[in-house]
């Protein structure tokens, strides 16, 4: 590592004007979405203009906020400005909301606004022919507002509330083409699965609130992530030898795992590709799925509480292993998929695993840098895929593409850049540096398991992306229709993102680790000596080799082949049953189908039966017993008592006919008389009670 300069950063916590107005960033898109909701379906231009305009202004404010933090950082201030207020007051406990401006939120704000804005612009082209164009922008705006709310939140409750808005809009957007049953089902699955994680998250919040008495992250020493509360949490025991801090951290991680598609809650993310492609790019690549990673970065002090210098904690170890397992697991599945978007979806799951592992192993800056670079190149890849799908007339199967490099030049070049960034192609692509940071942290870890897993994952990543690009852009043309390039409004955002996929390298190299220093409130000296770190050069060499081998293998098997769209995949022939296992995604969905879902269905049917038969039966039995008694009584009455009586009373029966109308035997009539009697009684009572 680089020798840290001894500069001490002084805290800067007083809220400035920009912090006080930070709420505008999420509020503007939300207001815009409200206005769009009221617009008529035909008002396309105002809808798009409102959405893009509001997010554009948000971006400007976000940049101003970023500049403010940057200015503080350059003046050696550790900026963490908060603005808190009480939402509800119950007894002595106050439920507080608030927002925070620090390097973490500033960087994330700019990223979300910027990538979001590009995706909004791209959507104008992509959704141009959709009849529900207006509604699309309404949801998109609401989503952006919710996501920005997650980013600025200084209260875990505000974060959760925004988190749920994000989940809801994600549901609405995945199911946007709800006339496709698969889309409606995928939307439901996404919502329910993430909600499973959310309940753990909510329990974590309740526990945190009960233990620390505050929901705020930072509040001038009284927040839940500040040393006083943390040391308090460390001393509380939660059973199984865990401290309360660890237990809460794990609960929160379960929420993050649901949102960020970590194993075993990853099943919804690939299905979510049923949504329109800009949605996939915005929600399932750049922002929402990153929210889980952001959450862990935000509560990092809690996750790492109690670690000795350089050590790790139970919570972080869990994060690391889950992340590493996800990275490999999803990469394996991605190798055997044929849907262009599904490959990207599994690659997203895999990369989110990298981010989690990075957080667990190397701290906030390592995981978070990968989040930022990934947001750019994955949004680029998804939008590129959207452009391809658009160009080949809504075809998504890569076996039915091929040879598109000549027809779609801009898309090809930008997609290629995105692909190389994702593979981590050495030196010029941002993905290389961010992934290298994670590998380096894994290599320095006490246990080497995660390192080997992540390295293997990197090999697979390079391999399956090469496979995909070969299928789509090279070889013979297998599409049913003539392909065409997409309009400028779609390709321009691609070019901008491609630029950043490369340019972001500049801030994360070991020679000038500006990004890391900025987040950690350290000075960032520029020194080439950073490369001379022992072991670093060899590690970089190793990871470069891994990537090159992966790409080489992929190109060897798939590159520029003339083949039939219905031919078996080359690997399928070689791997046989393993391929089937991968292509069927390790049968995880089926496993859930026969375990969890079957259990709930069984329980539901059982309780329903219980309700109808047992409780209903008891009620029916009671009614039957009373009915039986009534019948016995009637029998006694009619046979014995009435028997003798009737003879003598035959003359009276004519008069009885009138009364028999009253005794109609209908319960409602009886009750009606009962009611009338009662009302009369009450009236008399009221009358007699006059003062």
């Amino acid at each position: 590592m680089i020798q840290e300069t001894a500069l001490i950063f002084t805290p800067q916590t007083a809220a400035s004007a920009i912090t006080g107005n930070l709420w505008l960033i999420p509020a503007l898109p939300i207001v815009a979405s409200g206005i769009i909701a009221l617009l008529k379906q035909k008002r396309r231009v105002p809808a798009a203009a409102l959405a893009i305009g509001s997010l554009g202004i948000s971006l400007l404010i976000a940049i101003a906020a970023f500049a403010h933090v940057l200015a503080g950082w350059m003046a050696n201030h550790a900026v963490r400005e908060t603005f808190n207020f009480s939402w509800i007051q119950v007894g002595t406990s106050s439920v507080d909301l608030g927002w925070v401006l620090d390097p973490l939120s500033a960087v994330m704000l700019v990223m979300v606004c910027f990538v979001g804005l590009l995706i909004f612009i791209y959507s104008v082209g992509y959704m141009a022919h959709d009849e529900n164009f207006t509604r699309f922008f309404c949801f998109l705006s609401l989503f952006a507002g919710g996501m920005l709310g997650v980013v600025i939140a200084n209260s875990i409750l505000l974060l959760f509330m925004s988190w749920e808005i994000v989940g809801l809009t994600s549901y609405l957007l995945i199911g946007f083409w709800y006339h496709k049953p698969s889309a409606a089902a995928a939307a439901k699955k996404a919502f329910v699965t993430t909600r499973v994680g959310d309940i753990f998250f909510l329990l974590g919040i309740v526990w945190l609130f009960s233990s620390t008495g505050t929901l705020l992250f930072y509040s001038h020493g009284a927040g839940s992530l500040e040393s006083l509360a943390l040391s308090n949490l460390l001393t509380q025991h939660a059973g199984l030898g865990l401290s309360a801090a660890t237990a809460i951290g794990l609960l929160i991680f379960a929420g993050a795992a649901g949102k960020s598609g970590q194993v075993p809650l990853h099943v919804w993310l690939p299905d979510a590709m049923e949504g329109p492609t800009p949605v996939s790019a915005l929600i399932h690549a750049a922002t929402m799925v990153a929210a889980g990673v952001y959450l862990i970065a935000r509560v990092y002090p809690l996750m790492s509480a109690g670690s000795l210098a350089g050590g790790t904690t139970v919570a972080l170890t869990v994060v690391t292993w889950v992340g590493a397992a996800t990275a490999v697991f999803a990469a394996l599945i991605a190798v055997a998929q044929n849907d262009i978007k599904r490959i990207l979806a599994y690659s997203t799951v895999s990369q989110l695993g990298y981010m989690m592992a990075g957080l667990g192993l190397g701290g906030v800056a390592v995981g978070f840098f990968h989040l930022i670079t990934h947001a750019f190149f994955k949004a680029l890849l998804f939008m590129g895929a959207g452009s391809v799908i658009h160009g080949v007339h809504e075809e998504q199967d890569i076996r039915h593409m091929g040879g598109l490099n000549a027809k779609m030049k801009t898309t090809f070049v930008t997609y290629g850049i995105g692909m190389l960034a994702l593979c981590g192609f050495p030196l010029v692509f941002s993905g290389f540096w961010s992934k290298d940071g994670i590998l380096e942290a894994a290599h320095n870890g006490a246990i080497k398991g995660p390192f080997y897993m992540l390295a293997f994952g990197a090999l697979l990543t390079a391999f399956y992306m090469t496979r995909q690009v070969s299928y789509v852009f090279f070889g013979n043309k297998r599409a049913h229709h003539e392909a065409h390039e997409s309009p400028k409004v779609m390709t321009m955002p691609l070019a901008i993102l491609a630029f950043f996929a490369i340019a972001l390298s500049a801030i994360g190299t070991p020679a000038w680790p500006w990004f890391k220093s900025f987040l950690n409130n350290e000075a960032a000296p520029f020194e080439f000596a950073g490369f001379a770190e022992p072991g670093l050069a060899s590690l970089m060499l190793l990871s470069s080799c891994i990537v090159l081998v992966g790409i080489g293998l992929g190109w060897m098997i798939y590159g520029n082949k003339q083949q039939d769209a219905h031919a078996k995949d080359a690997l399928e022939k070689a791997l046989g049953p393993i391929w089937t296992l991968l292509a069927n995604r390790f049968y995880v969905d089926e496993l859930y189908g026969v375990t969890v879902i079957a259990l709930y269905k069984g329980l539901a049917i059982l309780t329903d039966f219980f309700d109808r038969c047992v409780w209903g039966g008891i009620v029916a039995l009671v009614a039957w017993v009373f009915g039986l008694c009534a019948k016995i009584n009637r029998f006694l009455d009619e046979t014995f008592i009435n028997g003798g009586f009737d003879k003598g009373c035959e003359q009276l029966s004519t008069g009885g006919g009138i009364l028999s109308n009253v005794e109609s035997g209908r319960a409602q009539t009886y009750l009606r008389y009962l009611a009338v009697g009662m009302i009369v009684l009450v009236a008399i009572l009221l009358w007699s009670a006059r003062p």
Partner: protein
Amino acid sequence: MLAWTIYLSFAGALLETLLPKGKPGLARALALLVAVAGLVVAVAGYAAGFSQGRITVTDVPWIPSMGIRYILAADGISRVLVLLTGLASVAGVLFSWNIDKRTNQFFAFYLALIGGVFGVFLSYDLFLLFVFYEIAIVPKYFIIAIWGSTRREYGAMKLALYSFVGSAMVLIGLLASYATAGAHSTGLVDLAHAGLSTSFQMWCFPLVFIGFGILAGLWPFHTWAPTGHVAAPTAASMLLAGVVMKLGAYGCLRVAMGLYPHGLDPWGFSLLGLGSWRDVFAVLAIIGIIYGALVALAQTDFKFVIGYSSVSHMGFVLLGLMTLNQIGMTGAVLQMFSHGVIAGLLFAIVGRIVYERTHTRQFADLEKMHLSRRLPFAAWAFVIAGVASMGLPGFSGFVAELQVLVGSWRAAPGWTVAAGIGIVIGVAYTWRALQKAFFNDKLPTAEDHPKTGWHDMAAITWPEATGVTLLVAATLAVGVYPRLLLDQIEPAVKTFLAGGVQ
């Protein structure tokens, strides 16, 4: 002033019976007028109650020989529930706009029911409370038996029998307390200060709690609720779930817990891990939450889903009450309001907006109807109502359930975990119903094009749109700015807790 809510409703009911037959328009207009007037009074009374404790409205002797007095009073809890009743009654009239069979009688029963409910929430004399409670039960029976649907007589009778069993238990408790206290008064305040012995409270508390709890959907005495809800006409389901179930919960709080606080004390021994009536009822509440949600997951009838969801949501109210701490009980009262509004909305959509147009509530039939395209208003209204029902932030249910969860965590963390499971299942059954009823359509083919192949469904009418807007606005307003209600609930709960329940 709040007493006028009662008098207005009963006067309205009386006027309805005097209206000439065959003038449904007049009957509707009158009912709406009375309901709106009731709401206005409730809102005014609520607004006047900020930063005030209990306000006594009327206090006159009624049956002096027994020391029974006609006491109407309202604290923050009562005022919130009166407000809810006002809202629900207006919405109920709006969603009954299409009733043209014996319209004036319908609204007469309807307003009598509302009057009874207002009366319960405002009574501060146990006997008076009981009388109003009974008044509320009777019209309910007729509304279901005459204007109901699916197995209406069965549903109505089941509901009436359950209610009367509950009433009988409450009555025994009432008479026993009156006799034991020997204070020659049935006033709630007098009885609470009568110093009833702990051993007496120990058996009287569960008796009265279950008596009222039956109407609050306390498991396993909940089975009247789904059948009753399903059999009832829309407005009656709305009122049943919206306010009548709250009568039960309110009775549990005000009477059972208010008069017999020592009934909640530990027994001194533990049976199956349960050490007090408090544990027993908390566990029953949690079973209700999970059980209701699970049963809802297995239903094939749209309205049954909502009926069972009410059992589940009312479990949160009872659980909140059993936390015996400030935040949990505040949450319970807020949940009463929240569930009243949201359940009303759900029943309105299912029973009125959808059923009146499709004439079926079976998912198997609804699935084929492409409702998301033919009734987009209903579909989106149900999305909003469903989201509110599953407790998403921004809606009242979130604040309420959060407080109950925090409160129960403080009482016993295990309760919170179990209730959390109920929330997950809640999401599952809501989305299942939503998808089956509205969004399950297949891709329309060229021959079967949606815009030409279907006969038109009646357009959404203004009372429907107004009713939905009213209820959505209410749940949103409370969800975004909960202090609107909490500022009144919170001090009332504090006083209540300080008054002995601990």
